[in-house]
Symmetry: C2
Subunit: 137 residues, 2 copies
Amino acid sequence: MTPKAHFAEKLRLAGLRPTRQRVAIAALLLDGRHRHVTADSLTEEITTAGLHVSGGTVYNTLNQFTEAGLLRRVMVHNDYSLFDTNTDHHHHFYEAENDQLVDIPHDGVILAQLPAAPDGHEIKAVDVVIHIQSKNP
Amino acid sequence: MTPKAHFAEKLRLAGLRPTRQRVAIAALLLDGRHRHVTADSLTEEITTAGLHVSGGTVYNTLNQFTEAGLLRRVMVHNDYSLFDTNTDHHHHFYEAENDQLVDIPHDGVILAQLPAAPDGHEIKAVDVVIHIQSKNP
DNA sequence: AAGGCTCTTTAGAATGATTTTAAACTAGAT
DNA sequence: ATCTAGTTTAAAATCATTCTAAAGAGCCTT
Ligand SMILES: [Mn+2]
Ligand SMILES: [Mn+2]
Ligand SMILES: [Zn+2]
Ligand SMILES: [Zn+2]
């Protein structure tokens, strides 16, 4: 199976029509590597790959992929959106100083006790962000 | 001690000159009640109190109070900033559906294990956000 | 109490990430 | 090949937040 067909199939399974733009972005983001991207960094990657996708479509695609569960949005600041290519359950270190986000191995955080969700609600996800700063000794 | 003097003193201790605007905002936000505000909701409160503070100053003051440790910023989305008048260590439920943020009692979440911070870094804060959604049975 | 220095506030303009628009395009079905 | 609904596009609009530079106000010194 050609790589293009592979990602097209992945998009179909996610309920997204495999357009040229979506397949190109899927090939960049859904190849199994775990990383964190912004609309801007993704646009750079696209350009480096010799392609072009309009700004609006980059945003739309990131939102659609997230909605479809192919990406995950990470909330650490509100300057711009961060997307995580790792949709498995895991947590993050965040260093505000240089806006650096680092994955924490899945078993690095153990939640021994969680509160019950408020009446009529259920827990959808638990996000742990450990804010760190460089030690100044 | 008059309430105004009380908040002025609090601001001085935080290293902030107690201007009319800062004292007014401190009286609204630093009275011991635990709640979550936005620049917008705070501006409404100020107006309701029959006062006026310019938009820029509302933003500046929220940022300065946060920097001074009198408020805490909560990160649950990147539509706009949320500020918490409770600076004690506690966590949150967040219901994206209607953008509702609810405090979790300090002992509601127990972290049995935390990873070591990366070399040369130390942990500054641990934020736990439990995303919830209404059960539809 | 007045003067002066510095910090602060102000209205308005600027910024910048993101969304919206309406027209041109295309994937997929017939 | 044709049709249609969904998609992409460049450009404009949105909107929370920051910046500007001029006017105002704490606060320290006389
Ligand atoms: Mn609270
Ligand atoms: Mn913005
Ligand atoms: Zn991650
Ligand atoms: Zn809170």
